[in-house]
């Protein structure tokens, strides 16, 4: 620490590192503008831009039906990314790469348990939530108590869960979605809005309250910002990490449960896509991969951005190969832009 403890627009100054020249006219206005241009505000701006781009490329993209459809698809990513947000916020290179495998297991279990019967839906929900939490908590124990790096721990867990899924299904997933689950996801609920969106909105409100208005939220930001200082402030860091990773597993399982209602049938790697996309949604939403800074509101926007991107690429009727290449490039561009944005801000 220098004797001058001042945060400056050019960030922490390290000897020998060239700083970008600053605009000498940068004044109060710029400061105010910077405060307004939070990463999550930018992500929402991006949502609007992408919707407009979609409309220009394929008229009808902005119709209510289309918009609701995009949001419905985004909701699964948003639910997985909710847990991912908590894990990334908790710092210590926090990341959960097992969400895809847990989501797949939950989906397979849901179909298997309900066998298309509505009466068994709640039982299935209770079981998959418990299993999801337990698997996530094992991640948490590995990270917090055995000090295994989160990347290694959750990647390993991903493999283990895939094995468990195989064991559970004997290689052939059976069963199908209960009609009520399918209805929840597809048919309109309140004012024409699908039930899944109501659930997602509820989750978003809960997450925002949890992060912004509870002691748990404050402590989560604290352990992400400085784990040592958090422990010295009396926070029980390790049990908290177990709960956080457990919650991530539980939310991944919930996403798997609901996803069965969308697909109606299941396959073994149904959630595999969601691993990296959930991390990307968190980052696009402005949460720092270093932990300690970010919000779920941002992640919601990040999830919509990623879904929109795919949706627009689909409407372009490109080949699958071209679509994947463009998707990857745009993602890299986005993340790079965010990296720059943060460097300028600090």
């Amino acid at each position: 620490m220098t004797s001058e403890q001042r945060a400056t627009p050019s960030g922490e100054m390290h000897p020998g590192l060239a700083q970008p020249p600053l605009d000498p006219n940068a004044g109060a206005l710029t400061v105010r503008l910077r405060r307004f241009l939070t990463p999550s505000a930018i992500a929402y701006g991006l949502v609007l831009v992408l919707f407009v781009v979609g409309e220009l490329l394929s008229p009808g993209f902005l119709s209510t039906r289309q918009v609701l459809n995009v949001l419905r698809v985004a909701s699964f990513l948003g639910i997985v990314a909710a847990g991912q947000t908590l894990v990334v916020l908790s710092g210590g290179e926090g990341i959960d790469l097992s969400v895809g495998a847990v989501m797949s297991l939950a989906a397979v279990m849901t179909a298997h348990i309900t066998q298309g019967r509505d009466a068994l839906v709640l039982q299935a929900l209770a079981q998959i939530l418990a299993v999801g939490f337990a698997l996530g908590a094992v991640n948490g124990v590995g990270v917090a108590f055995l000090r295994i790096p989160p990347l290694v721990m959750t990647l390993g867990m991903s493999g283990v869960v895939q094995g468990l899924t195989l064991l559970y299904t004997q290689g052939i997933p059976k069963g199908r979605a209960a009609p009520i689950l399918n209805e929840l996801v597809t048919s309109p609920w309140i004012g024409g809005i699908p039930g899944i969106l109501v659930i997602w909105l509820g989750l978003a409100v809960l997450m925002s309250l949890l992060l912004g208005r509870t002691s748990f939220g404050r402590r989560l930001y604290a352990i992400g910002a400085n784990r040592r200082a958090a422990a010295l402030s009396g926070i029980h860091v390790r049990p908290m990490l177990v709960v956080i990773y457990g919650t991530s597993g539980m939310l991944a399982a919930l996403a798997g449960f609901l996803f069965v209602g969308y697909t109606t049938t299941v396959f073994l790697d149904i959630g595999g896509d969601y691993v990296l996309r959930s991390v990307a949604a968190v980052v696009v939403g402005g949460t720092s991969l270093a932990g300690g800074v970010g919000s779920y509101t941002g992640t919601v926007a990040g999830s919509i951005v990623l879904t929109l991107l795919q949706s627009i690429l689909t409407t372009l009727r490109l080949g699958e190969a071209a679509r994947q290449v463009i998707h990857g490039l745009v993602l890299v561009l986005l993340l790079a832009a965010y990296g720059r944005q943060r460097a300028l801000r600090q």
Partner: protein, 514 residues
């Protein structure tokens, strides 16, 4: 050092604004060849920014830097090498995974056929290190990764790295903060050699004792402006402090020596911690300030950490208000009303990227919440109330705590604990890197708490501060309490004597206030 000669280094009319904060407002300074020039000022006065303008880390909004009379644009390490400027900062720029030798010659490794010539590297690094080691009683481990070294040794490596560039202008920005006394002496010797050879040295330090020992002239900054350049030989410390702060500050004796009749709050018996503490016993009564003295690093910090539950106890018994307590982790100590202001506030006390509000309310959230649910209004009121009480000026509660000066940051750390209404306050070098004015305010806080019946256990690297604040001082040596000073024995002389009694010459000298 002829006053008429072209100055080696000259900064003229430097202005710098960071966002809405004016860090430098037309600051100027001159340093002649062979001069050791001090740059003084309270925290936030702009002295580090000025040093960083000279090294090109910060680009000024206006003004110019002249080297040997020529206006130079300095914008990076390449310019520094060209102009033979080197700098040592308090925050280290070393790479922990690389060895001492590799760090010293980083990016200037001798090569053979395009590959690093390791023997030559070791030899050159050893030569540079020898310039410091000749004044120390030991050698730095050339092949050890820097991350394994103590903070003091890392600082020495950082200094060696600067020396290896054969600078004509050397900037030492709080380079002595983590050094022990004999290491500071060694650095002083090297600085004298350099200045005799014509190098100009810009010396930034909070320790006025070192400044008087080493420097000839001083430029004093206040709020980004130069308030004077003085000849140190003709300027008493009191005048210097007045220039720095704009007011008179005297460190008078604040401790009380009258016998205590209050109940014993904290009793420690036979406390042992593997590797650092042995058979520590002590008693502290309500309303008492107990100082921990001795040479630096004799277990004072470890004792505070052990009491806070941050180090595992191998043996011993701790009682608070007559009841035995188990201290397995900090949360245990906090529950019993015993809290620690750690020695390294940046790494252990604060969440730099979070707001002042969150920092100050974190440990006491449970006091104001219902089943984990926070009332934001009550949070803000509690924070505002505490900041007022500690005289911390903040723009907004939502500003990140990193925007505060060192003194105000330390007050936030103290404040976050006061909100938990503690009974015992453990202070580990609380005024390190804190400017004079904020220091005085912190002393006042300690007095108030003592008067309110708290126990304060204080470790300080500043002996005069320890003597002024403590009702009595326990002197530690190699993890044991070897003496207790009270009454008339609370003098600098007695403290020095007691610290050295086991025949070591490794004494840490505090800065002496007027």
């Amino acid at each position: 050092m002829g006053g008429n000669a072209v100055p080696l280094l000259e900064a003229v009319g430097i202005r710098k604004r960071f966002g809405g904060v004016v860090a430098l407002d037309g600051a100027s300074l001159q340093c002649q060849a062979g001069e050791v020039h001090a740059l003084l000022g309270a925290n936030g006065s702009g002295k580090s920014t000025l040093a960083k303008v000279v090294t090109g880390v910060v680009a000024p909004d206006a003004g110019e830097v002249r080297i040997r009379g020529r206006v130079e644009k300095i914008s990076g390490p390449a310019d520094m090498d060209r102009l033979r400027i080197a700098a040592v900062y308090q925050e280290l720029s070393l790479i922990p995974q690389l060895t001492v030798a590799e760090n010293v010659l980083l990016n200037r490794e001798p090569t053979r056929a395009g590959f690093i010539h390791r023997e030559a590297l070791w030899q050159r690094a050893a030569e540079v290190l020898h310039r410091l080691e000749q004044y120390l009683d030991r050698r730095l481990p050339l092949h050890e990764p820097v991350g394994q070294l103590s903070p003091a040794d890392q600082q020495l490596v950082e200094i060696a790295k600067a020396l290896s560039r054969d600078p004509e202008i050397l900037i030492l920005d709080e380079a002595t903060a983590s050094l022990r006394r004999h290491e500071v002496d060694a650095l002083n010797q090297v600085v004298r050699e350099l200045s005799a050879a014509g190098t100009g040295i810009l010396f930034i330090s909070h320790r006025l004792g070192e400044v008087y020992e080493l420097c000839q002239r001083a430029t004093i900054l206040r709020n980004g402006r130069v308030v004077g350049t003085v000849d140190l030989a003709e300027t008493p410390e009191r005048d210097l402090l007045r220039l720095m702060t704009g007011e008179d500050l005297v460190l008078e004796r604040r401790g009380r020596s009258r016998p205590m009749s209050r109940p014993v709050r904290l009793r420690v018996e036979g406390l042992r911690v593997a590797g650092c503490l042995d058979e520590i016993s002590l008693e502290a009564r309500a309303g008492e300030v107990v100082g921990l003295g001795g040479l630096q690093g004799q277990g004072q910090s470890d004792l505070l950490r052990a009491l806070f539950g941050d180090l595992p106890h191998a043996a011993g018994r701790v009682e608070i208000d007559g009841k035995p307590v188990r201290l397995g982790q900090p949360a245990d100590a906090i529950r019993h009303g015993m809290v620690l202001v750690p020695g390294n506030r940046g790494q252990e006390g604060l969440f730099m990227i979070r707001s002042v509000l969150e920092n100050i309310t974190l440990p006491s959230l449970a006091h104001r919440s219902w089943a984990g649910w926070l009332s934001l209004q009550r949070e803000r009121n509690a924070a505002r109330h505490m900041l007022n009480r500690l005289q911390v000026k903040v723009g907004s509660l939502d500003d990140s705590v990193a925007t505060l000066s060192g003194g105000n940051q330390q007050k936030v750390v103290v404040g976050k604990w006061l909100l938990t209404e503690p009974k015992i306050l453990l202070l580990d070098d609380p005024t390190k890197g804190v400017d004079v004015q904020a220091r005085n305010e912190l002393y006042r806080v300690v007095e108030d708490l003592r008067d309110a019946g708290l126990v304060v256990i204080l470790n300080s690297s500043d002996d005069s501060e320890l003597l002024a604040l403590s009702d009595r001082i326990l002197v530690l040596y190699e993890g044991r309490v070897v003496d207790e000073l009270r009454g008339e024995r609370l003098t600098e002389q007695e403290l020095v004597g007691a610290s050295l009694r086991l025949g070591s010459s490794d004494r840490k000298e505090g800065m002496s206030h007027a």
